[in-house]
């Protein structure tokens, strides 16, 4: 006949108590695992944005919403467009401290054939670019020909397919690596292609508020500042000397993102701490209640010949099993809540969000399991010690 361990028997006999313990420890593991993955993803997103921006200063037209629009395009993938005269590029290049500068041209598609929503189209100068090109090179080493486009990883168009933008069929030649920022939802092409698309949009009657030829306009200038110059000073110089433009130091843009990230991370950390304190207090109370509830039961075990050590070890094993089951449930629940909803979390927080690598995720899961199991077992230690000291004779006489 199959013999069930007394530990398992105890746990299944009091299924309500066991379920409550498993749920409590699951909550602990969920908080640690889910919280740490979200915090790590936000940090990963910020690092990725830092790497991808690549420029020290970005210059946009000084129209009131240009800077906000640029941040929204870069961080949230919102579509937008604004234009200034190309001659501004020459003035910017002539500014002291500018090592290199490259212009980009923006266009928001209407509903592109790939997607049910407009996509941001970014045209970059292939000869001078130092921001988009290194990123594209990771997956496509050739130069983008006319009408050829590279798409962000969240634009669902495969290599070899075509995207129809303003009636122009653009073959997709590359899909870019994930950045966790708004850049993942954009389409990239050469400036010549974008000028072609601008003309196509104007032919279809869309007012892009461009006067004159599309060849004479740009949307933003990305600047690399010389090592011996301060980026903020160069940005201030441009703001003072060049009219109708606004130069933004990417450091200040990143500081804004970093501050928001700190606020979100701080809130999550405090939530985890509060949850932990609450759950640990409840665990201690549950185990303390068990002392009275199981006094007579354990007295009988002692009478049957179980040593104090065996009793302690039995209670510890019960707590260990409950904590392990809870921790596994918590990590599984955390995975089901965090990973499938990555885009939703990113869109809700309005911050760059890049899920960590598989190795880091496994490490986080192992850490959450270990911390939860140790906490659950530690909470039961006092009870185990107290119950093992029960005097069987007195206890059974008291209850009689």
């Amino acid at each position: 006949m199959k013999r069930t361990s007394p530990v398992i028997k105890n746990l299944t006999r009091k299924s309500g108590r066991t379920t409550a313990l498993v749920l409590l420890t699951a909550l602990l593991a969920l908080a640690v695992f889910g919280g740490s993955i979200v915090i790590l993803s936000l940090r990963g997103g910020l690092n990725s944005l830092e790497n991808r921006l690549g420029a020290d200063v970005i210059v946009v037209p000084s129209t009131a919403r240009s800077k906000t629009n640029l941040e929204q395009i870069l961080l949230q993938g919102t579509t937008g467009y604004f234009y200034m005269d190309r001659e501004k590029l020459d003035k910017i290049i002539a500014t002291d401290g500018v090592e290199s500068a490259s212009a980009q041209l923006f266009l928001a598609s209407l509903r592109a054939s790939c997607c049910s929503v407009p996509v941001q189209v970014i045209g970059f100068d292939q000869a001078t670019d130092f921001t988009v090109r290194p990123w594209i090179t990771e997956s496509y080493s050739r130069t983008l020909n006319e009408k050829e486009v590279a798409v962000g990883c969240r634009v669902s168009a495969g290599i070899g397919e075509s995207i129809r933008i303003y009636g122009v069929n653009c073959p997709v030649v590359a899909r870019l690596a994930e950045t966790g920022t708004g850049l993942d939802t954009a389409v990239y092409c050469s400036q010549e292609t974008l000028q072609l698309l601008l003309d196509a949009a104007r032919d279809l009657g869309h007012d892009l508020k461009i006067s004159g030829s599309s060849e004479n306009v740009i949307s933003a200038v990305y600047i690399k500042v010389r090592d011996d110059y301060d980026a903020q000073k160069v940005a201030d110089d441009i703001n003072i000397h060049i009219r109708k433009v606004e130069a933004v130091s990417t450091k200040s843009m990143l500081t804004g993102v970093s501050d928001s990230l700190k606020a979100v991370s701080g809130t999550i950390t405090w939530l985890i701490i509060a949850l932990w304190i609450l759950a640990l207090v409840i665990l201690f109370i549950v185990f303390a209640m068990m002392v009275n509830e199981r006094r007579r039961e354990l007295a009988v075990y002692r009478l049957l010949g179980m040593s104090r050590k065996m009793l302690s070890s039995m209670i510890l094993k019960e707590a260990l099993l409950c904590s392990l089951a809870g921790a596994l449930c918590g990590v599984a629940l955390g995975s089901a809540l965090v990973f499938p909803f990555t885009t939703l979390i990113e869109q809700s927080l309005k911050l760059p969000y890049l899920t960590p690598a598989a190795g880091t995720i496994v490490l986080c899961a192992a850490l959450a399991l270990a911390v939860t199991v140790i906490s659950g077992s530690a909470a039961s230690l006092r009870t185990a010690r107290k119950l093992s000291r029960v005097d069987p004779g007195t206890t059974l006489r008291e209850g009689a």
Partner: protein, 135 residues
């Protein structure tokens, strides 16, 4: 008793799926009123959710062991179909940031996966119950 609990869980999941598919877990809505690629998928999910709910209600009242076993198996197949519906059997929008991709697809897959797990547990419980009674 335990099988009744499983049936109630199944019914609750089915109601969440059905109500969710026309509210927060529904397909994308275009501002111009035109149909998104995921609109039909949303309708299919609603139908599958209703089917699951009806089968769960039958399971609450039918006592015949073989009939209950068959019903649990059908709910498992319906749940599996539900998992495969958004994105595999039926289309969703192509952009990751669309509502159907961000919310509907993951939430519906998780809910149907839970329904499949519940149905599988119910099927196993019915099989072991039938064996115990030698039927």
């Amino acid at each position: 008793m335990k099988i009744t609990v499983l049936t109630v869980i199944l019914l609750v999941l089915a109601v969440i799926i059905a109500v969710g598919s026309v509210t927060v877990l529904g397909p994308c809505v275009h501002e111009d009123g035109s149909e998104a690629p995921c609109t039909g998928t949303g309708r299919a999910i609603l139908a599958d959710g209703i089917l699951l709910a009806v089968l769960s209600v039958f399971l609450l009242f039918i006592k015949a062991p073989k009939m209950r076993l068959i019903l649990f198996m059908i709910t498992a197949v319906a749940a599996l179909a539900g998992i495969l519906m958004p994105g595999t059997l039926l289309p969703v929008c192509k952009m990751d940031t669309m509502h159907c991709r961000m919310v509907m697809q993951p939430a519906i897959i998780i809910l149907f996966a839970l329904a499949l797990l519940t149905s599988a547990c119910g099927t196993m419980a019915e099989i072991s119950k039938n064996r115990k009674h030698g039927k």
